[in-house]
Structures are given as C-alpha cells and as structure tokens.
C-alpha cells in the first residue's frame, strides 16, 4: 500500500491513525500543502481533484477518507473498528457522513478566515488546473468569504459541537462504548476547533483528551496543525 497524504490535512491524519490502530504499514508519499504540491501536474495526474489522502492498494486508487477507513477495516478486520452491532455501525456511518458534509467544509472556511489565507502567486497556475467545482471553491476563498458565509460556517461548527456532546453523553467514545472509525474520522477535525477560537462543550473536550492519549494518535500528533486550505465543497442545495 502507498498513502499519499499531507501534514495539516485532517482527512490524511484519520487514515494514518487508522493504519496505526490496525498495525498496518504503508509506504508514505508526503505532500506539502503550504507549497500547494497537491495541485502539481504530477499529483493531479493520479488524483484529478487534487485531494489528499489517496491510498493505492494493489494498483487500485482509493479516495474519500471515511470510505478508505471502512475499506481498511474490511480488508484487515482485526481489530474490528466499524462498530459491534448494526446500531453502533449506523452511528459510525452517520458521523462519517456528518464530518464530511457539516464539519469539514465549514472548518475549511473558518480556518481560511482565522489564518488569513492567501493563495501565493506561485500557486495561482495550479488553481487553473483544477476541475470546475474545486476551482470555484478556491476562487471564492481567494476573493475572501463574506461575513454571512463566515457566520453560517461558525454556527454550523458550534452546532456540530453540540451534536458531538449529545452523542457523547454517557459514552466513553463517540459511537458508544467502544473506540471506532467514528472517533478516528471526527477527531482530527474536532481537534482543530480550539486553535480557531471555537469552544466545545466539556464532554467533547474530555473525549478529545481520551482520543489524543491513544498511541496511534500520539504518533501523528505533529500532523495535527491547521493550514489554510479548502476542504470538501459545502452542501450544494441545503
């Protein structure tokens, strides 16, 4: 297996945590987001949207980090991390979807604003190589998000914090009594909230500390810093 990943990418961190939890080794190809290596012609040739992470396994290319986590769990089932029964697995998949649609896109916008993101001159040519929806998202970022969008994204993230707290009520882990892919998928995103000045309810803070203490997470802790880059496209129609 070969993993294309970038420090500072929460989605990449999730896949690296998963590999460590499973005791799996993958050859690592590190891309530098600050230098926009994800938009280089070489990388776009194998990952047309310029997204990280991407996993190559036996000549196949896999995208979409949460579904890479599920793939790794089904490819190497020991220890099983997708949940112990259908209800827990539903919760895991619900969070896998929620982080992608309701957290990651808004976190990218909040990060861009907080870190005063700016596309350097040297990276403008790379934007022109992107497919239309991603190019448009970057151009919106480059022009600066308006106050209304920033308020909407901030509110979405605070709502996410409340929903995390609701599911963590009485539970040690996000999807119930055992550590799962849900924790792996959500943690690297939720871990960025404090740096961006977004407060999280106490149960979420306690959960972040429990996840941070795992050896798999300690091993990649140096990758968990926020970078001003765009995430997934915000929802198209509500």
């Amino acid at each position: 297996m070969r993993l294309h990943y970038a420090p500072g990418s929460a989605h990449s961190a999730a896949v690296r945590i998963m590999l460590a939890e499973k005791g799996l080794e993958a050859e690592l190809h590190k891309l530098d987001l600050v230098r926009y290596e994800q938009h280089s012609p070489d990388y776009l040739a194998i990952s047309p949207h310029g997204l990280v992470p991407m996993l190559e396994d036996g000549g196949r290319r896999l995208f979409e980090s949460f579904h890479i986590l599920e793939y790794l769990d089904e490819r190497d089932p020991d220890p099983p991390l997708a949940g112990q029964d259908p209800r827990q697995r539903y919760a895991v998949r619900k969070w896998g979807k929620y982080v992608e649609t309701h957290i990651a896109p808004h976190l990218a916008i909040a990060r861009w604003a907080a870190l005063q993101g700016k596309v350097p001159e040297s990276a403008v040519a790379g934007l022109a190589r992107l497919l239309p929806p991603r190019r448009d998202l970057w151009l919106r970022a480059e022009n600066g998000f308006d106050r209304e969008q920033l308020a909407f994204s901030t509110e979405a993230l605070l709502t996410a914090g409340r929903r995390l707290a609701a599911d963590l009520a009485g539970n040690e882990w996000l999807c119930g009594g055992s550590f799962t892919l849900g924790d792996v998928a959500v943690y690297p995103h939720a871990a960025q909230f404090a740096t961006l000045g977004l407060s999280l309810p106490q149960p979420v803070g306690d959960w972040l500390a429990r996840v941070a203490a795992r050896p798999s997470v300690r091993g990649i802790a140096g990758d968990l810093f926020p970078v001003a880059v765009m995430g997934p496209e915000p929802g198209r129609w509500g």
Partner: protein, 257 residues
C-alpha cells in the same frame, strides 16, 4: 416493529422503501406529505427534530440519514444481501452513494424543484411563506427553501447543477459499460441509491438519456425498472411518482416485464 416515515418513493425519501422491498422486509409506511409541509410540522418534528425525510424507527431506534440507514437495513434483516462481499467493491458502492448524496442528488433537486415547485410559490403571500420558513429547523435547508419560495436561486448555480448532472450521466454510463451493476456483478445499495433519484431520466432528460446516447445507463435503467422490488416500491407513491414510473416503463418497453 419497523416504521418508515417518508414521502414518495423518490430520491432520499425513497431509499428505505426500495431497500425494504428488495429485501422483502415488512414495514409500516407513514406517508409524510411534503407538499403540505408535514415534514416541518410538530408531529414529524417529534420523530426527527431536523425535519428531513426519511425517518426510520426500528424497535425504538431512530435513523434519519438515509444512506447509513440502508446499510443498517441490509445488516439487521434477513433477505438477499445488498452489498458486495469484496472490500474494494464495497468501497466502490459507498463512493457512488457519496457522489449521489453530495453532488448528483442535490443538483437534480435544485433543477427539479426550481422547475416544479418554485412556480407554485410565486403568487403566495410572502408573510405566510416566511412563517413556513420559520418552522424549518436546519439552517441549510431553510436557505434552500427560501431560494425556492422567492425564486432566488442564481441562474449560474442552476447551470452548474445541469453541468454536474450531465457529467454524472456520462460517468455512470462509463461505469456500466464495464460492469452489469454500479458496484460490480451484483445488484447493490449503489444501484438503489442512484435509481431512487434517476429512475425518470428517460422521460425528464430524454435527449440525454436513451439507447443511442447512453446505451449502458439505459440498459441498467431498464433492468432496474424490471425488478419486482423496485416496482413494488414505486407503486407505493400517492401521486406523480407512481404515475411517472409507469410512463418511464412504457417508454423503456418493460411495462409487462
């Protein structure tokens, strides 16, 4: 006890109906009339405070995300398996569903609702429309309905949706040139998720989707429309969906299959 609170056998609201009929699982169907905004009314909000359909309640366990709920249904009930065994094929199935949920279904919903629903709001009292908007719990859903009610969807967004749908039609046709079904050689949740939204394309986009332009997608649509489970789900509608599906079968020549 399995209860499904949903609208027509269409898009997200149809996914559990197709799934349960394909598995042969009995359930209670509670029809939520979206035209009458029942999904934003107090009775439904007591079941799903987000005010989105479908909501599926199994022995007291409530699910409101339709794609994860389909995997739940496949795991929790007997009947034919609706997911491939191979991990790579399963990844493929999930990526197709994600692409539908994030890109194709919202794009088609934007196009269709602007064509069909927006004109109905044109002559209505703005104060009454505002009151309806106030009852929508999720801000992103409220924003979408506001654009619909006040005809405020920017034309370039509709054009981008049309481009994305055309692109998706090409991608699905390409995938189905190589495989019988969307996630390989067995019918799966990927087929259900895509069919629930695209079943009417041979009528609604007849110039783009037909035996000449998209032979593989059309072959697949014909195969889906011929399945007893898919037909039984489509027959559960109370209005235009069921009628429309019959017209599509006529067009595809599978009316008597």
């Amino acid at each position: 006890m399995l209860e499904v609170y949903t609208w027509e056998p269409n898009a997200n609201s149809g996914k559990p109906l197709f799934c349960l009929h394909e598995k042969g699982v009995p359930f209670v169907y509670h029809y939520i009339d979206m035209g009458a905004h029942e999904h934003h009314g107090p009775e439904f909000l007591a079941i799903n405070p987000d005010g989105t359909v479908p909501a599926i309640v199994h022995d007291g366990f409530t699910m409101t995300e339709s794609t994860p709920a389909m995997e739940y249904i496949d795991e929790a009930f007997d009947g034919p398996a609706l997911r491939p065994d191979d991990p790579y094929r399963r990844w493929q199935m999930r990526v197709v569903l994600r692409f539908m949920d994030n890109v194709v279904a919202p794009s088609l919903a934007m196009i269709a609702s602007n064509r069909l629903a927006a004109p109905r709001f044109a002559g209505q009292d703005p104060a009454e429309l505002r009151a309806k908007l106030e009852r929508i719990p999720l801000p992103e859903r409220r924003a979408a309905w506001e654009k619909l009610m006040f005809q405020a969807t920017p034309p370039q967004e509709i054009a981008e949706s049309q481009r994305l749908v055309a692109d998706a039609i090409g991608r699905f046709d390409g995938r189905l040139a190589n495989d019988e079904w969307l996630a390989g050689d067995s019918f799966s949740l990927a087929d259900i998720g895509v069919f629930a939204t695209l079943y009417a394309l041979p009528l609604s986009m007849d110039e783009e989707v037909n035996d000449e332009a998209t032979p593989h997608l059309t072959r697949w649509l014909r195969a889906c429309h011929a399945r007893p489970g898919m037909r039984a789900a489509l027959a559960m509608g109370k209005g235009f969906v069921t009628q429309r599906a019959a017209e599509v079968r006529e067009r595809l020549g599978v009316a008597e299959a």
